[in-house]
Each structure stands twice: as C-alpha cells, then as structure tokens.
Amino acid sequence: MFDVVVDIVLLTFLATTSFAIMRMTNLFAIIMLFGIFSLLSAGLFVVMDAPDVAFTEAAVGAGISTVLMLTTLALVKRSKEPYYDEAPKTHTAWLPLIVVIVTGSALIYGTWDIPNFGSADAPSQTHVARFYLENSLPDTGVPNTVTAVLASYRGFDTLGEVTVIFTAAVAVMLLIGGKRPKSVPKTEGEEAKDEA
C-alpha cells in the first residue's frame, strides 16, 4: 500500500513538472526542470522495482542529457537580452491541441483493456519472464537477471546498441567537431565590398 502511495505522489509530481516545462519560455529554467523530471523518473523506477533502469536514468537522463543541453544552450543563446528566452508565441496552436486531445482520448480508451497495475496474472508476466528468472542463474552464473539477459541471452542486441551509439558519436563529430569556417561563405558582391 505504501508503495502505491509513493508511486501516485511521484507520478503527480512528474505530470506537474512536464506541464511547467511546456508552459515556461526561459530555456535555462526549462533545462533545469528537465533535470528534475529525470531525477523524479529515476525515483519512480526504484519504486517500480527497476533499480538498474533507475541507475541508468539518473546517470544518463539527469546527468549527461542535462549537461549536453546546457552546453548547447551556451552555444545557441541570443547575442543580446533576453539570452535564453524562446520567441513569444503569436497565436494559440489550436490544431496541435485538437490532435493531442483526440490521440490522448483514444489512448486512454485503450487502457480499459490493460490489467490493473501490478497484477501477477497479466499476459506480460506469464510468457518468457519466468524462463529467464528460473534459468539465468544456472545458465550464466549472474544473480542479476537484467544483466544476464542484457549481456548474455540478448548480447547481440547490446552490440547493436553500441553500433547506434558509435554512429551517433561519429555523426556528432562530423557535424560540430574539427575546424570549419566561422560564418556563412560570403557572396561575390559582399567580398568585393569588403576589399574596397
């Protein structure tokens, strides 16, 4: 019961934070709130018995993502005040709002068929999960089932993950690494003016 109360309180915090992120216009504040959002999610993952996911989310989501976003913000800020604000909106976006409300209603209608949170006889619990829990220790000698599945049973998936990260790293280096011209190449007319 205590678990459920903590779960509900944290989820409510999370929803509130996401609304604040959507409504605010100061990008610096938004990025800080996103860090809080990730940390709250890490807490929730612990409540939902997923400590491995919580570690990763706290380190990668709250740590690396926030640092990356702050670094980007430092590079893309405006040259004069206000440095970090997004441009004021000129109109209310009705079409996106309608799209979101319709999609959300359809998805909520879909939840009627999902078994209650935490029920042990849900279809997702009765399939292969039991096999991994029973066999991972004798098969691999690793007590942590998540590690056993990640690195042993589904090792090729993890290799694919590493490929994705490598590709992303190469792409980022190609985009912003190394030497490149400071500004857009000038047209001929402008060059002539500069020389004169």
Binding site: S41, V76, N144
Partner: protein, 118 residues
Amino acid sequence: MDFIIGHYNYWVVIVLMMVGLYTVISRGNLVKKIIGLNIFQVSVFFLYISLGTVEGGAAPIIAEGVKVYSNPLPHVLILTAIVVGVATTALALALVVRIKETYGTIEEDEIHNLDHSL
C-alpha cells in the same frame, strides 16, 4: 476505486506522452522541441516498466528466500532505450548548433523566413 488506482500509472503515462507531443508540434524553438521529444520518450519508458511491475515483487536479482520478482525483460529493453535515447538527443543538439551557426537563430519561423527570402 481499484480500477482508478490500478490504471493511474497508465493515465499519467498518456498525459506525459501528450504533453511531449504537444511541445514537439506546437513550439517553434528547436531546443524546446528536443525536450518535448525527451518527455515523450520517458513516458514510453514508464509504460514498459509499469507493465513489468508485479505487486509485492522484488527487483529481479535472484536471492535466497525471495519468491516473487518483477519482470526483468522490460528493464532490459528500457536500459537499451535510455542509452540510445541520449545518443539521439546528442545528435539532435549537434544539429541545432549547426543550424544556429548557419542561420543565426533556432526559432523555426525565423528559419522559414530566411529560407524564403533567399
């Protein structure tokens, strides 16, 4: 009441999903769009982990005297997804930096205007 408590997780997941989607499609600032995308992503993580939770279950680390564990499979999938997610976020942010260098702005409207005035 049981139904509400049993489905509260999924409803908040959908609210987060829709907040993320709305931020992506209605805001013009590219950094804010990426943050919206990240919120959407985290909501999908919650959907998976919620589906894998078993009431009274322990974390899936095999130990003496523990009978009920939560489902380890969603945890594995989401571990992979979190790491891939940060890789794609880094790539998107690098693109934003390049766009800023070329156009001098990261607001979508201004970029469109610059494109049309060429």
